[in-house]
Symmetry: C2
Subunit: 114 residues, 2 copies
DNA sequence: ATTATACTTATCCATACGGCTAACTATAAT
DNA sequence: ATTATAGTTAGCCGTATGGATAAGTATAAT
C-alpha cells in the first residue's frame, strides 16, 4: 500500500530529520553545491546524498548538475503547502467557541485558554 | 544515538503520517475518546493506539482516562512551535535580496521570483 | 453474577530508514 | 597524460516504523 502518496507525508517526513532541516535552512539563504552543504556533517557523501534526494523528491529543493558540481536550490512552494496545513488547523482550533454548545462542552475540561 | 532528541524531529515525524494528521485535524474541533477517533480507520486498536502514543509523545495531544474511556485533547503549543520553524525559513527566504551581492548572485540562476 | 466494552500488554512481521564501505564515472586541474 | 575532485551506484547492516494477532485488565451494563 503506497505510503507517502500524499504530498504532506513526504514533506513532513523530509522535515523530520535534523540534517535535512539544516540543509533547508541553509538553502533558504541561497543556492549551494552538495559538497558545501555536506561539509558541516561528519557523514559519508552517499549518506548525505540520500538526504538531498529525500528533500528533492519532497519538492522542497531542486538541483542541477553543471560540470561535476551539483547545485541545490530551495523551492518555496512545498514549504508553503505544509504551512497551509498548520494554518488550517489553527483556524479550526480558533473557531472552537463559535457556538455555545462547543463552549460549554469545552469548558467542562479546561479553564486556561488563550 | 538518540534520534528524535529535538522536539521538531518528533513533531514533524508525528505529522508525516496521514492517520495521525487526521487525528489532529479531528481533535482541533474538540476532545474525543480513542474509540471515536479510531472509528473511521480500518485498523486494529493496538495499531491505532500507537499513533495516539506517537502524537502524545510529540506533545501534540494529551489524553486522560476516566473509567475505561481515554479521552484525547489537542495541545496547540507544539503545533505552534513547528509553525515557527516555517516562519523562520520564510523570513530568511524573504530577506534574500537584502544586499546587492546576494541579489546579483541569485539573479544569475533565476529570473522569475515573487 | 455475567457479559460486553474499551482499552492494554506482549509479541511478531515485513518494510523503510539512516548510516556505512567499496568501487565506478565524469570533469577539472597540473 | 595523470591525478584530484565531485558525485554516483550498488550493496550491506542494525534499528525504527506501521501494521497484525492473542490474551489480559478494568469498568460499565444487564
Amino acid at each position: 500500500m503506497d505510503k507517502y502518496n500524499e504530498p504532506l507525508d513526504t514533506i513532513f517526513h523530509a522535515l523530520a530529520d535534523p540534517t535535512r532541516r539544516a540543509v533547508v535552512q541553509c538553502l533558504v539563504k541561497g543556492p549551494a553545491p552538495v559538497k558545501e552543504l555536506a561539509a558541516p556533517y561528519n557523514m559519508a557523501l552517499p549518506s548525505f546524498m540520500k538526504h538531498i534526494s529525500v528533500l528533492e523528491q519532497a519538492g522542497l529543493i531542486a538541483s542541477q548538475k553543471q560540470g561535476r558540481v551539483r547545485t541545490c536550490t530551495f523551492n518555496p512552494d512545498k514549504l508553503a503547502a505544509a504551512e497551509q496545513w498548520f494554518e488550517q488547523q489553527r483556524a479550526i482550533w480558533a473557531s472552537r467557541f463559535d457556538n455555545l454548545d462547543n463552549l460549554l462542552t469545552t469548558l467542562q475540561g479546561e479553564t486556561d485558554e488563550t
